[in-house]
Symmetry: C2
Subunit: 338 residues, 2 copies
Amino acid sequence: MRGTTIAEVAAEAGVGVGTVSRVLNGSPSVSEDTRRRVLAAIATLDYQPSATARALSTGRTHAVGVIAPFFTHSSVIERVRGISRALAGAGYQLILLDVERPEQRAEAFRSLGVRGRIDGLLSISLAPTDRELRRLQQTGVPIVLIDRAHDSLPSITIDDVEGGRMAAEHLLDLGHRRIAFLGDEEENRFGFDSSAHRREGFVAALDAAGVPVLPEWILRRPHGRDAARDAATGMLAGTERPTAVFASSDVQAIGVLEAAQAAQVTVPEELSVIGFDNVEAAELTGLTTVAQPLEEIGALGADMLLRALSGEAVESRRMPLAVVERASTAPPVLAGRR
Amino acid sequence: MRGTTIAEVAAEAGVGVGTVSRVLNGSPSVSEDTRRRVLAAIATLDYQPSATARALSTGRTHAVGVIAPFFTHSSVIERVRGISRALAGAGYQLILLDVERPEQRAEAFRSLGVRGRIDGLLSISLAPTDRELRRLQQTGVPIVLIDRAHDSLPSITIDDVEGGRMAAEHLLDLGHRRIAFLGDEEENRFGFDSSAHRREGFVAALDAAGVPVLPEWILRRPHGRDAARDAATGMLAGTERPTAVFASSDVQAIGVLEAAQAAQVTVPEELSVIGFDNVEAAELTGLTTVAQPLEEIGALGADMLLRALSGEAVESRRMPLAVVERASTAPPVLAGRR
DNA sequence: TTGAAAGCGATACCAG
DNA sequence: CTGGTATCGCTTTCAA
């Protein structure tokens, strides 16, 4: 790390370091003449200020940490993309922490807790424990939660219960009465609870419509296409088969689509499938889904953090959902009655 | 940024700051007794050292910059994932720079050129200009290129020409003689050249086999599923239709699959399609493809950089390719001759 | 083994 | 408007 320093620039320009710093930071109190001389010196020496030194001196790193569990999941990617856009636009760097295993969760919060690494923290789907939170607050790092609510932290979320309800109502409106649910395991070491909430809204809507909810048609599996496909395969092999399935994520819905295809069950004639999220793959597979504005959520979350960074008080926000109809849902054919 | 400082810990433990620092860094020359006292003080004060101060003092940030163009493309994601894994394992932070537009390319290299931000740089598919390179080298930041070769920089690449050849040979072996190519525009402002190389290998293999290469069946379009679908739609509507298509990326191959479906052209009976990369969506759609080990490439690239960081000389590497056969390719039905 | 002090490279206050 | 200097929080000699 040789690199030219501000002192060398000052010497070259024949001024004090303070003056160079002022030029660097666009202070108005520098004579036009001096400014030009300093700028010239900077150019000849090809000088670039040290971000570290500046950070130590100002107490701001201009970096934001982003905790992203299952970073390769499209829903996460799309949110990170929004974050990246907003951050870059504001001149902040994005420090990415991928969390795949529960141990990494703690590690991520710890490593970012280190003072002086980041100015703020964005956490996707994951909340800090009270202890971690205390530590983070102690270092004065503002936090904004994305896709996760919290008592004392601002967050940007969707109403998962309502989303589940919307999915159920879409199917009910089409005339379905034999509807299954396929979601994540609700006991998970990350504390994810979206799937459980979506299930609640879904069940509540069926109940309200007087449609029976069969326990064997409420499936909970580890998140992923394969597990979803296997579960759906089993369900489609039964004598009593649902006419529609609500999967609590697009990834799982695609697993259901695969199972249907393998079992020669036509979609949407014999089976309607609705997912959740509206990731790119949903469009690719023609999947009807409850859409949440993923990228926008990321961008808004970053904006909220940036505002918190500049001292503003920020309020939690809730983003709207909408059913996007594609080719995977239709009225039931009622094969059973034929 | 209040936070406890090393001085307070030293006071609490009744030792000098130097000693605390030694304990922090596991120096052997600290008596067991002193070490315990310091550790106790650290615990009571819940002290966390400042990463910035440490970085300024040691000249190492323990952060690596990753330039990722089109970060949402699965091929990039999968590589970033490998990078993230390798970096986290080594205690390095990953600073992500998404580049979507050509202007951002320069901006990315510039912002990371700032001294003191990162210890090393990983660039995916993008190479620095000579000028940018000089600047980066001047600050002593080692660089490793992923998916891009360079005269004076270590890189980890695949042989795109060979990959194109493999795709062609797979189709030739199946008996196809009427084969089209669909790839990226070769004049692009990022200087991406994989698609061009894949095309070269493809054409060379056809030439070698004495199979005619029709200019109207060499399609170059902006990268993306939609453009690929549109191009394929046009081609499939022609009177003379190919029996097979090699798309230079899985994303484009999927566009071709969609066009075929819309045009009622059955795959693989009436049209074989082979892609490139083997991203997750290829498996999802049953696409035959030339596979490159994306995640592994990312991880190895990060390893190379880490080694360079520790002063080792690193050699460029080239990773192997393999055709993964799925459901989208088969011998031609030769409908034309019937 | 340990304390004291000199950097690391900026910013920002205080005089002038 | 500008120069000098203390300061940020740590690491790393240098003596003791």
